[in-house]
Symmetry: C2
Subunit: 538 residues, 2 copies
């Protein structure tokens, strides 16, 4: 009864001459008795025949399938026997990847999980280029006709719906059910992805003053979106706060538990953007900024998303210069993911292969013979620039190896500087110190594998005891799951959306000053990072 | 705000950087301020683009079009200027005829009215034969599959939807608008017609214990029924009480005002069935029975529905035997409608052309020469039976004339006997006398033209002062109009449906006894009709 859809036992007496209530009225009355909380209960038109026939065939007793909608409940199906599972899909609609789980709402168990590339990438890697594609013809028109659908928008919607359908079918196959057995879908994504998924004009999202068409979507049926899940499955789209603060972050807030916490906590979600929330059960302040690409594997030449073959951790012994790395799946290294990159750059700093500006040092000027030998073994030239070869099995140019270039390093430094600038601007804005935070949840592809120690070394995260940090994985997906499992979470979302204060960093002068200070390892002011060793700048 | 759909003025401020609420959230917030009653307000998915674009084009100020649904309100459109009219259609979905009006919900004015034959007649003249057609294939299956649609049911639904669409277009043309400008539809019909209109299986309606699939339909959008009215126009189907007590009668109760009356009143609605309700604001008891066909022009050979060419009134001077009749439209008589038939039979009784059993008397045995001459002039032989020629311009067999046959008379007597039996059974059941009724509303095609005096003479209606009777016309249509104009009426309908007690006459022994006693003119017990002269039986 507290899940987005649920089954409820119904025992009605069969009709007789002196009790000739209509079939569906009989069902509704029996259900109202079972549920006994006075919430409105309807049987939507497309379900009337199905429900009435199944109710009669079951002898007027069995299990009604009920959807919990905002404004009331809907009876959408009827079973003679309690179904073995009651499947619902939670979906993280990411800009680059879709990640989904299938839950059994009766047991709360996870039946399946899988992911898929967001095939919209074919129309643009990032949000801005997707909006551009979605508004190709629409840009000619100041006020498009009410029924105008930009072909580009249609294309993007069809693409994402096809991908979601594929993912639904993959999950269903894993769980041994059919896609139409999926009885609810909860979707968590950024504001633009939500618009594209619903085929709604994203034109104003990226134009000052950055206005989405909607933040709160109404409940939609699966069939209205041409989804292969059950046609009357409710599709819940996590509400967003603004153009650059999407439902994925509301999910993150849910998953982190900030909004239930008495003490002040912080959530850092690094996806395509870095999004940060600070607060407790009484207040929430959020901001977002471009800090992510280098951390998500989107910038470094050898960067890749965390997946098989990605180097996910690197360690270099500062005494012996012995280097170790581990790839996901333990296979041959094909690239390096965000957490591996942070490990690597932190190790390069601690072993003084790079300086505090993040530049490769000259091995010839290095007095320590062991360090110099290590540097010479790994620093190679490519296109006239110094690079660091993590693996060294390839040819002398590093072809075939996992190689970190200076441009990658520069991007990495910019990203970590942006991240730290965002965090300090925000903490300053609320008049607090980092040390007052009870917990920092780190979410996203970034948060799943990152070691806070290395991130602190780089000056990306504040220098706090490691126990303060908690990795919560794909919080966008976790939030979407929560909504399916607990009905009251939808109200909680509304509460979060309406209580949150959004800090616009793009227009914040202070942010730019802080950003400049953070472009060194760990910082121009090393006293902010007492746990990180500092070295002479040479 | 109290009509089924309404416009409301919205003044929102355009978005700026520090106020970057999404367009639709902005609209919802401004609307919530205007409406100020806390009822849930959503913008349904299919309307989001239209509403958002119109809101932006209008500069974030204008008029929102809002539908008042049971569980909340829906914003379905937006206008820069207040629309000239806000059209809604009320429809009486009769078994033989559709009758509809177009209302302007802003002024309450009637913009247009029209009617059309129910083209389902091609599949069966009465409800039973329609159910038979709608269940041709389905009857093979005890438990049809959830998605099984009987081709016959599909055919009947398509036919009625086509007719409703035609009527909507006729009304729209009269009012100088397009059908898609019709923003709401309220439908009042008997239980079977409601099932056929919605394409819902009527199989059990006519099978003991006579169970409809539904009594209360959910709100349905025009597009879900393939209607040509606005796709998001709410379609409200008047709830019914049971298989033989439909929404048309709930409409009748609304139109008659019984359920608001302190004193006890009665409603008599003669359509294809005779339906009677008695009660006041505290209680309502209803019953229905087959009494109608002869009165609706469905039985008499020359019977026809009230329309151009129908003889609607007949008078015969009991002294001079001068006969007068009037046709609707004052044209040549083509047949006789219910009210004309009642006039005629009452006149034939008062002039002693027929006896108390309703049989034609023998002109040769009539001692009064004037009466005998009149009888000889009008009584003709056809197929060996005596008939009464109302018009006498045709040949000697009455070909081309309007002629009343003995079988017509017999059917008429059965109908009037059934009607009186229904009324007396009901009044007896509630322990009252007819004289205690404050008002008797007479509705239906029958009620529109009938003269209570003549109906009393026949012993069809109780012998009460004529001032007690009130003709309320097509009460099914009037009720449908009320629902459009006043939102609270829907709750009133629910109250009526749940408070009504239904008396099943088909299983009532007492009814059969009363029916036998009523098969004379005016009755076997003439003391029940003191105002009606009695004659020796010869």
């Amino acid at each position: 009864m507290n899940t987005m859809v649920f089954t409820v036992r119904v025992d009605a007496t069969p009709p007789v001459l002196h009790d000739n209530t209509a079939d569906l009225d009989r069902l509704q009355q029996a259900l109202a008795r079972s549920l006994d909380d006075g919430r409105p209960l309807t049987i939507p038109y497309p379900c009337m025949t199905t429900v009435a026939r199944a109710f009669r065939k079951a002898g007027f007793s069995g299990y009604a399938l009920v959807s919990n909608l905002e404004q009331g409940r809907e009876v959408v199906d009827f079973f003679a026997e309690k179904p073995a599972v009651l499947a619902a899909m939670a979906l993280d609609l990411g800009t680059t990847h879709l990640e989904a789980t299938l839950l059994d709402l009766q047991s709360g168990e996870r039946l399946a999980e899988d992911n898929l590339e967001n095939s919209q990438i074919a129309f643009g890697a990032d949000i801005l280029s997707r909006i551009h594609h979605a508004t190709t013809e629409r840009r000619q028109q100041k006020y498009p006709a009410p029924d105008f659908l930009d072909p580009g928008l249609g294309e993007l919607q069809e693409t994402i719906v096809t991908a979601v359908n594929k993912l639904a079918q993959m999950l269903a196959a894993q769980a041994g059910i059919t896609a139409s057995d999926i009885r609810a879908l909860s979707v968590s994504g950024n504001t633009t992805m939500a618009h594209l998924f619903l085929g709604l004009d994203p034109y104003h999202i990226c134009r000052e003053p950055y206005i989405p068409m909607f933040n709160r979507a109404p409940m939609i049926y699966g069939s209205q979106l041409q989804l292969v899940i059950n046609p009357v499955a409710p599709v819940w789209v996590m509400p967003s706060v603004g153009s650059y603060f999407g439902g994925d972050l509301i999910s993150g807030i849910l998953a982190s538990g900030i909004a239930q916490s008495e003490k002040i906590r912080m959530l850092i979600d690094v996806g395509t953007n870095a999004e940060v929330v600070i607060g407790n059960s009484e207040w929430l302040i959020a901001c977002a900024g471009a800090a992510g690409p280098a951390l998500e594997g989107g910038v470094a030449r050898m960067g890749m998303r965390a997946g098989p073959g990605a180097i996910e951790s690197v360690a270099i012994d500062p005494e012996t210069f012995a280097m170790e790395y581990r790839t996901i799946g333990d296979g041959l290294p094909k690239g390096i993911c965000g957490s591996g990159l942070i490990d690597l750059v932190a190790a390069l700093y601690l072993t003084r292969v790079i300086d505090i500006r993040g530049k490769f040092r000259d091995p010839d000027k290095e007095p320590d013979p062991a360090r110099s030998a290590f540097m010479k073994a790994h620093l190679i030239e490519r296109n006239g620039s110094r690079c660091f070869a993590v693996t060294t099995g390839g040819d002398s140019s590093g072809e075939g190896d996992v190689v970190l270039e200076q441009t990658d390093l520069n991007a990495m430094i910019r990203s970590k500087a942006a991240m730290y600038a965002i965090l300090t601007t925000l903490i300053n804005q609320v008049g607090l110190e980092f040390s007052e935070l009870e917990e920092i949840s780190v979410a996203g592809a970034f948060g799943r594998h990152i070691k806070p120690r290395q991130a602190i070394t780089l000056g990306m995260l504040p220098d706090l005891p490691l126990s303060v940090y908690r990795a919560i994985g794909n919080s966008s997906l976790r939030g979407a799951e929560k909504v399916l499992l607990e009905n009251s979470i939808r109200e909680e979302c509304e509460k979060i959306v309406s209580s949150i204060t959004y800090l616009e960093l793009n227009v914040n002068q202070e942010f730019m000053i802080r950003f400049s200070g953070a472009r060194f390892i760990p910082h121009t002011d090393p006293s902010l990072f007492p746990s990180v060793p500092t070295f002479d700048t040479t």
